[in-house]
């Protein structure tokens, strides 16, 4: 990578330059500011779970994270039943569902997308690349509600016919749908990473007598690893927050199970389905914001971890070269 040193903004000569730099800097800060404000808003709405006695009668941290009996005397269970005589808000089934579908989506999407990116960057004939790259990137333009509808109407039926699952709408169906949304993101970023590996690496490797496959696998892939990892983190983040596809294709039953062919109910789908008509200020309302905050923190930690890992890898690579 080449580093271009730009003159510092303060020294820029003309007034228009200075104005442009202020505008650009301003919009960058605006982005950060709105992010912070969103988090403050979500956090503020979630906070009554910790502070308000009124809300805690219905939903407190212990009822969110520990099992509750459906009726007095019944066996305690993890349940999500917000509309009930005794509302039950167990976060665990939703959390497990969210992770399950995300892992399934990423499991299918990342190998496919990275392999496709490696192929187009290293092996494909230029004109094949000219066709394949925009085609995959076009996938990103398909609205997720359309993908969800496709899963609900077509994919779910196919999968059930082939595998004979009891539930048509389950974590695998939704996960496959999600992977359609994740693939273009991972592909685009990974492809850029492969393309930006200096040509000299390839030439050196080929000159040493390595085949083009060995070059791609042993030289280009490791050199592009930080970028590929960043792509994976982005894909993971997209999968965990995606709403419409899981809302339509996952069945939305809050079951605590690890089976990939059970129906699931994710954080995002729960918020989407219930927030629209909940009473503002009720325990249910605050619990939904708590879910939102949890999702936000989860994605944030994931990105932080990804960032740290990418940085570490980059350092290692630079040290080695």
């Amino acid at each position: 990578m080449t580093v271009v040193r730009l003159p510092r903004a303060g020294f820029a000569g003309s007034l228009s330059d200075r104005l442009a730099s202020i505008v650009i800097r301003g919009s960058a800060f605006l982005a950060i500011l709105s992010l912070v404000l969103i988090f403050i808003f979500i956090g503020k709405e979630a906070l009554p779970i910790l502070t308000s006695q009124e809300v805690q009668k219905e939903a407190s941290l212990s009822t969110l994270f520990f099992p509750q009996p459906a009726k007095p005397g019944a066996r305690p269970q993890y349940m999500w039943q917000p509309v009930s005589e005794v509302p039950k808000y167990s976060v665990l089934p939703l959390f497990v569902s969210t992770l399950k579908v995300t892992v399934i989506a990423v499991f299918f999407a990342i190998p496919l997308a990275v392999a496709a990116a490696l192929y187009t960057a290293e092996f494909a004939h230029p004109w094949v690349r000219e066709v394949v790259k925009p085609a995959i990137e076009l996938l990103a333009g398909i609205p997720s509600v359309v993908i969800g509808f496709f899963c609900l109407m077509v994919l779910a039926g196919w999968l059930q016919q082939v595998f004979g699952w009891t539930y048509r709408l389950n974590a695998v169906t939704a996960g496959l749908g999600l992977s359609l949304a994740v693939i273009p993101i991972v592909y685009t970023v990974a492809e850029d990473a492969f393309s930006s590996v200096p040509q000299t690496f390839r030439e050196g490797s080929l000159a040493m007598g390595a085949s083009s496959w060995q070059t791609a696998w042993r030289v280009v892939l490791p050199a592009a690893m930080p970028g590929v990892l960043a792509a994976c983190v982005l894909g993971f983040g997209r999968a965990i927050g995606e709403t419409m596809i899981v809302l339509m294709a996952s069945g939305n039953a809050a079951i605590l199970s690890l089976s990939p062919v059970d129906s699931i109910r994710t954080f995002s789908a729960t918020i989407a389905a219930e927030l629209g008509e909940v009473v503002v200020g009720s325990a249910h309302y605050h619990v939904l914001f708590f879910l939102g905050a949890a999702l936000f923190v989860l994605t944030f930690l994931l990105n932080l971890f990804g960032h740290w890992w990418v940085g570490r890898l980059q350092k290692k690579l630079q040290g080695a070269s």
Partner: protein, 278 residues
Amino acid sequence: MPGALIVVTLIVSGCGGGSGTGAKAVTVKGSDTMVILGQRWAETYMGEHPGTRIQVTGGGSGTGIAALINGGTDICEASRPMKDREKEQVRSRHGKDVKEIPVALDGVAVYINESSPIQSLSEPQIKGIYTGKITNWRDLGGKDQKIVAYSRENNSGTYVFFKEHVLGNEDFAREIQTLPGTAAVANAVAKDPASIGYGGIAYATGIRAIAVKRDENSEAVHPSLETVRNGQYPLSRSLFFYTIGEPDGEVKAFVDWVLGPEGQKICEAVGYYPLVRK
């Protein structure tokens, strides 16, 4: 009725200008099931009668009835009949009898896949399926297949109706899958031979609305305009307006309009049944 409450306030003033300065708004409050219906009525009515303001809010039938008792609303919308105790409260507070005005009918169909051999189910059987006590079609006279039950999302009025009427307010089983909208439920049932779902009486292909028996010994009744109207179909109910005493003035004009052909046509458009025209 906790949860799933819609609190939508609709305040549309006449036609801009200086309208509504002297006129008091007619307030309509109550059932969440009826909020959309009430809003459509109000919007159309206000369009035709500039100068009248009608304000529709939800909150649940109980909330609406409480507001009526406390004098906080002109019209209470309720998807259940008022209890005698509540009527008594109105009488003692206001010295007038409460006026019950049925304004529309509502019916929920239970559907199964066309290929299923099941012809009818009783209410206790449907309850058993949705509370997770009956899990195989074999127990209901069908094939040896696990039942896949679909429900509406818990923000829907149909969900609440089903929960109150069929489940007797018990919780849905965890395995019940919920889908956004009747269309999605109908589609899922059409695709899955072992499934059951409920919703408005839709005319999708591939599904069949089954006949419902009130209990094991009673007659199975198919849902139709006729059986919902004459009350034979068990999963039906009347939707009511309640006022304190006979309605008068603008309230009366609005109620009469709702019961008239235009109001009843809106009922059908929103997905409910119009009342029998006498």
